[in-house]
Symmetry: C2
């Protein structure tokens, strides 16, 4: 990798954590400079403006979440296990701080929904990818008869995401993982009661 | 009401909508001046700084939500009806834009959790009040045997809040109320299946 590319990726990585904790409006260029240790001129070698850094940083944070999701699915055998493994990624974000600032899609959705169209579009795209990842699991569970065939898989997926993201919000607000843990156990109850073919 | 008090409340009301859409970091003093039509000097007659306006604006937005919740409970007869009436307040926020910017507790929780201790504390207090409002309903449902007596009412309430707030986030992100509507119908299913004494 060329030196310029290494610097660029370093700036993205460091500013991703900044944006994910302080928000896109809250994180300033001077904080990006401080945290990355790269001078203003160096940053402008790679990015036009703060917005361009913000978008690259968001994409990087989302790619990390998607990596966590893929890794979580390793060694799972059933669709139920896969859905719960995805929920556990969010327990880890809270309990093991695997992603500084929590879920970037949630944070960016809330910040951008009323006033930052470019970021909002990016958050929509990322959320669609997240919904899609869950939908593949639910649809495969329906196809192999693990789940009932009268399930509306998109509705189920967005419900599970709402519960998880709501649980993440509460756990981060109160600095207590009991909220996300209880939400995950309610999702498990939901899968057992409303989705599994018995 | 004295003129000064009228002006102060006007500033709070207008800045509440600004803060709830653009965030506490995102809304600037000059936007508060523009939107309220009150000059800088007039604003500083009533508030020390932007933080003081932000806290007053947050309290005002939360008081509006709490008013909606109280009003929603009028003419309800069962605890199940009351819980669903509270959910419907959030459907109205999305569909009828009863509160510009959506749920202020959700917005402020997400913005403050990693970096604004004063606002975070305020969001925690507001969320505790919200949880408390639901808990009164659930506890009364347990006491009058409408709900099962093995329910952990605090867990149930935070789960319902997680679903609602997650649904609000998705509906605002995609500008589509189907997410909050489906979340509410899943809460209804949950009440019927997991809470009601049958």
């Amino acid at each position: 990798m060329r030196k310029g590319q290494i610097t660029k990726e370093h700036i993205i990585r460091e500013s991703a954590a900044l944006f994910n904790t302080k928000g896109y409006t809250g994180a300033s260029l001077s904080e990006i400079i401080d945290r990355s240790g790269v001078r203003k001129g160096g940053i402008y070698n790679h990015f036009e403006n703060k917005d361009e850094i913000a978008l690259a940083a968001f994409d990087y944070s989302v790619s990390r979440i998607l990596d966590f999701l893929s890794k979580a699915l390793e060694n799972t055998t059933s669709s139920k296990e896969r859905l719960l493994a995805i929920c556990d990624v969010y327990v880890d974000i809270i309990e093991s701080h695997t992603l500084e600032g929590g879920c970037p899609i949630l944070n960016t959705a809330i910040e951008s929904d009323d006033g930052h169209p470019l970021l909002k579009e990016r958050a929509q795209q990322a959320m669609k990818v997240f919904i899609g990842r869950l939908k593949v699991i639910v649809d495969s569970g329906i196809n192999n008869k693990e789940f009932r065939n009268n399930i509306n898989s998109e509705q189920v997926c967005t419900y599970i995401i709402a519960v998880i993201e709501g649980g993440v919000m509460l756990s981060k607000l109160f600095d207590d993982s009991k909220y996300i843990r209880h939400c995950v156990s309610t999702v498990q109850q939901y899968i057992d009661g409303q989705m599994l073919n018995v």
